[in-house]
Symmetry: C2
Subunit: 223 residues, 2 copies
Amino acid sequence: MDERTRKTNLYEQFARVGKALSNPARLELLDLLAQGERGVEDLAEAARMKVSNTSAQLRELARAGLVDARRDGVRVIYRLADEQVEEFVGQVQGFAASRLAEVEHAARDYLGDVAALDPVARDELARRLRDGRVLVLDVRPEAEYAAGHIPGAVNVPHDLLAARLTDLPAGTEIVAYCRGRYCVFAPDAVRLLRDHGFDARPLDGGLPEWRRSGLPVTAGAEA
Amino acid sequence: MDERTRKTNLYEQFARVGKALSNPARLELLDLLAQGERGVEDLAEAARMKVSNTSAQLRELARAGLVDARRDGVRVIYRLADEQVEEFVGQVQGFAASRLAEVEHAARDYLGDVAALDPVARDELARRLRDGRVLVLDVRPEAEYAAGHIPGAVNVPHDLLAARLTDLPAGTEIVAYCRGRYCVFAPDAVRLLRDHGFDARPLDGGLPEWRRSGLPVTAGAEA
DNA sequence: ACAATATTCCAAAGAAGATTGGAAGATACT
DNA sequence: AGTATCTTCCAATCTTCTTTGGAATATTGT
């Protein structure tokens, strides 16, 4: 094996990480896994992919060292290999957003104008959680809430929100959050709530950003 | 366009950055450009690629916002879009190295055991540049040296080093550096120098790492 | 205008990746 | 052992990416 081959081989190894991130389906899976570990079938449904394809893509991610798998009875649970992966994926997204106007455009197209909804800063919410009156609303699917959520947050999955509006207190300000900066659930929820006269704002960033900021996270059922 | 399409579109945009980094040839071009801006033909020669292919890959990098091009007379000069790109590429390499044992293996295979050569820390070299006696040797090609180098460094391109050994002072410790942590020039140079009785060590990291540490860089011909 | 040089465009061929349906493998429960 | 459930493997197809040689384009200098 000559020097040139060895050099190419080294770059090929580096490229494995890029390859892992080069496919939209895999990126979506990583975002889902940032909410918490999940089984293959479950992930497939959430990402609207076929199970066999989901399995193949997860396997790719595992080969790049981004995710781990463990068996739990009849199912295989995948999760991010460690916290660094989540951070890294966030950096990649931020980097992409910072230099491709198309990212901003696509995000706006998908999420609407989130800035116009006047997002609440994470540290502000952390303060108000202690002393202010505020209802924190987790609009992610129940399983993701159970895997970890902001302490005191109430879970009303986005698809059930319209039906449960009457359960919400009218006078209290509501802060809604979801999977992250590029998740629609919270912005959509805020718009729905405002249409019905509630005083609602989205949180800046979702649970992964909250966790990464070193703020507390509770697991389990709770409320 | 439905919600699902918009979501996929967003992830496709993110994936563009991953795609840009998913190919070994492009990663090598990025590493070369981290040394300084260069023309297409020049890059093609350095990476041992055909010009047409080099042009195509550079175009890909440009579409992902990683590099810029400007025309200088008859040639087109490419460069990294900004300092963030260099840092980002470094992070990707570091991330890959931290979780894929194969990267370590490939690096060792290509570079040999660099740690065994007892690399000099960058801040230590910075101190010794001021008060200690040390010869800093830049073993990169002349053009890269001209584009920017450590102040006071002497340029002896790696392929000319064997022929110029007699020009080097025997008593002084020599610190050699090159393109970065994954460049062979400096480790090879150190081994060659030691074989001929010189007291030589590699710098920890190359010029990009030096620059990123906020240490001074000089451009132009000098020595 | 013409020639020289450098780059990009283009078309074609080959390589690699994505996706699917169905078969095969694991595991748990009866 | 047999059945049900979940996951992976496999083979086939389709798409996308890579690479190449040559033609076309841009710029400079004569």
